[in-house]
Subunit: 440 residues, 2 copies
């Protein structure tokens, strides 16, 4: 029997604000950060790593919340825990005092994601499989037992969920072969389009991405309409009209403003407008979608929990569901959203970027194709090319596809060196920078 | 000129779990707590006090978040701040790094409530008026400038908001007189109906509340259907059929289960079912409302922000809006919800109880009647009779009415003695109890 002996939670912050990587109309100067959880066991070769993603200040709140969330895990047997991943999740989620602080949203939910992501990593490592394969080898009943279906029965019953998975089960292995043969799971790049980049950098990065094999490109919009028109013109000049262009407004508009602005940009034939308004506004997204078609509506990186996504599906508010692997409360809640998306016929194109989100979502997208949706149609997963060097098992993208991960786990482990350098505020990087700021 | 010189934030926890005060189907053992903010100025007679309410563990997260939220206030002039309460609010809310952790929900939003509640308390004290009167003497434009209308324009424009307030402005003083004459603002009591109380205690407390002049009574339900039927029978025996009975399920049901369960209880003719399902589920509440009428649907104590309430109104999901003065981001966001409620014709019956919520909502209800809705019809504000002894200016209820507060401020100040006794974990009460637990 292997026992969880301790939990370490680290406040890791990368100084991305210095280069304006990640700048958009809402978030101008984020330091991409992770509240990074390491579950330790009495087997020195076995740990579980997970995280949630934030953009700087307040990452310490998630760290402390994760510490509190993870306390009940200490002393448990890894075997009993990994045998019933739904039960562990439900027990942690039912802490009524922490629940009050959400419920199931904000800091306590982000912390739940960090902790349960680490539990899933531990389960996959113990099984000696990459997470996507662990999931792809679970039975329909096991998957549904792990999924958090609470509050969803008006949209999806347990029986319906099992039935959908049963139908896809016999052909799972064929789809794994298909992915291998086609060189992985398709992705698109956001690396070129941050608002803080100048025209020259934009042009160069788009051209480079074209050369690298990408055919989907996302640009940030919403700062200034004339600027947007100019930048989209440049983008179409570089990528042509055969490639897909996606737009991301990062929540800057009210509903009527979103409709007007997107209408102005529709001549650039965008595939989707992402986060056109407040992420909580189900009915607002539905109204925008009805008004701006054929431009699609996409949202989800701030989709707080499965109850929000349920309503997005019920209200026909989305063309693309962009769930976030570190904002939803780990695989347990993610499976529930994938199941609903399947029932409502909405493609899931997960949000990625940030710190390590690409590493996580590659597993989820592959799992979706293999065991849930069974299709790649209209599906393309985000890829952003930064911070991968800090991960022990980084995702690998070749010709616009995520290669299938092969190492055991959820690819969530950060190098100890990176942690000790970028731990805030006492890691070597921040200690030196803060000392310089004090001296300056 | 008066300057904000510092901010203290205290983690205050009252050991209510010992007596099962506050027990319900979801929250069985809360220790009612406040993340309590005190803004200090260079005038020793002038401070601003505010708080958010939690039920124990994790209150420390709100304390730390409030500390971070309040930092930008230090060094400002009180005069400039109180002259533009909308601007201060928008500046604090626009911190994009903290915003990422919600946005506008969970711990960072609760912290925003605590800090801005303190700012409003400071503004009212400086003006020498109770908060309700400060608000009732603001012009329509001033109120709308203070209100957070972001993301609401598809439901309520600035011009509509001003117009509604202008219409009520000439008769504000008449309504203040009416309230004075009728002995205050009507309330109901929840003190009798907690799930953890036995039949004898339930009977005694209901009878006592009848004797005290109450005609609205709320009982917790949702633990066990047969128990609920038995307890509601007892309640109707004591209060008769002329008084109003309200039910509160504290989010325990899925949507279909809520519809079935409430249908079973409808023979007791409840005025409303409160929190029948997940608080984020706008469409679920709308479905329940359509199914259980004439039983009304009420929710809001976990209503995370104005965007949720906007949709509740748009979807016709609510018969009663129970906004929470310490979960919404203070008066700025509360005004926006009151304005939308007025436009959509939904009565607001604020959530109270907890720590100090009664002290806050009395001001809001009075303001609503005087300046916004102009009516008491279908309106009754919650009152729970505990923990008032810790407040310097406690609310006073006589014959089922909140008397109009007369002291300057938002009635949010907690006695220093109470803070030093119940500060967690080092206040005298907790230090002794934790030492005993260690020894035992």
């Amino acid at each position: 029997m292997t026992i969880i002996t301790g939990v370490r939670v680290h406040d890791v912050r990368f100084p991305t604000s210095l280069s304006l990587d990640g700048s958009d109309a809402m978030n101008k100067d984020g330091d991409y950060s992770a509240a990074y959880v390491v579950l330790e066991t009495d087997d020195p070769r076995l740990t579980g790593c997970g995280f949630t993603f934030t953009i700087g200040r307040g990452n310490d709140l998630c760290v402390e919340a994760a510490r509190q969330r993870a306390q009940p895990l200490i002393g448990r047997s890894v075997e009993s825990m990994t045998a019933s991943l739904g039960e562990v999740y439900r027990e942690l989620a039912s802490d009524s005092q922490l629940r009050w602080l959400g419920p199931e949203k904000g800091v306590v939910h982000l912390a739940m994601a960090a902790v349960m992501n680490a539990v899933w990593d531990l389960a996959a490592r113990r099984a000696g499989k990459p997470l996507w394969r662990l999931l792809a080898e679970m039975s329909p009943e096991e998957l549904v037992d792990a999924a958090d279906l609470r509050y969803l029965s008006d949209a999806l019953t347990r029986d319906e969920a099992i039935e959908m998975l049963v139908q896809m089960a016999p052909t799972r292995s064929e789809r794994i072969e298909t992915l291998d043969a086609r060189g992985g799971y398709p992705c698109y790049t956001t690396s070129a389009g941050w608002l803080g980049y100048d025209d020259q950098k934009l042009t160069r990065l788009l051209q480079q991405a074209m050369d690298d094999g990408y055919r989907h490109f996302k640009l940030k919009v919403g700062g200034d309409l004339h600027e947007d028109v100019r930048r989209l013109g440049i983008a179409r000049d570089v990528i042509g009209w055969e490639s897909e262009l996606m737009l991301d407004a990062n929540q800057v508009w009210d509903v009527p403003e979103a409709i007007d602005w997107v209408s102005e940009l529709s001549r650039f034939k965008p595939l989707w407008i992402e986060e056109p308004t407040n992420p909580d506004d189900v009915l607002g997204h539905a109204a925008i979608r009805a008004a701006v078609a054929p431009v699609g509506v996409a949202t989800g990186e701030h989709g707080m929990n499965r109850v929000l996504f349920k309503q997005m599906f019920q209200a026909k508010a989305l063309d693309y569901c962009q769930l976030d692997a570190a904002r939803l409360a780990s695989v347990n809640e993610v499976i529930a959203v994938y199941l609903m998306a399947k029932k409502f016929g909405v493609p899931v194109c997960p949000h990625a970027g940030g710190v390590g989100l690409c590493e996580l979502v590659q597993h989820l997208s592959i799992f979706d194709y293999v065991a849930v949706s069974g299709t790649l149609e209209n599906r393309v997963t985000e890829y952003v090319d930064h911070l991968h060097e800090h991960f022990v098992d980084p995702c690998i993208v070749v010709d616009g596809n995520y290669l299938l991960p092969t190492q055991p786990g959820y690819s969530a482990e950060i190098y100890e060196d990176s942690v000790s350098t970028y731990a805030f505020p006492n890691g070597t990087y921040w200690a030196a920078r803060l000392a310089m700021a004090d001296a300056g």
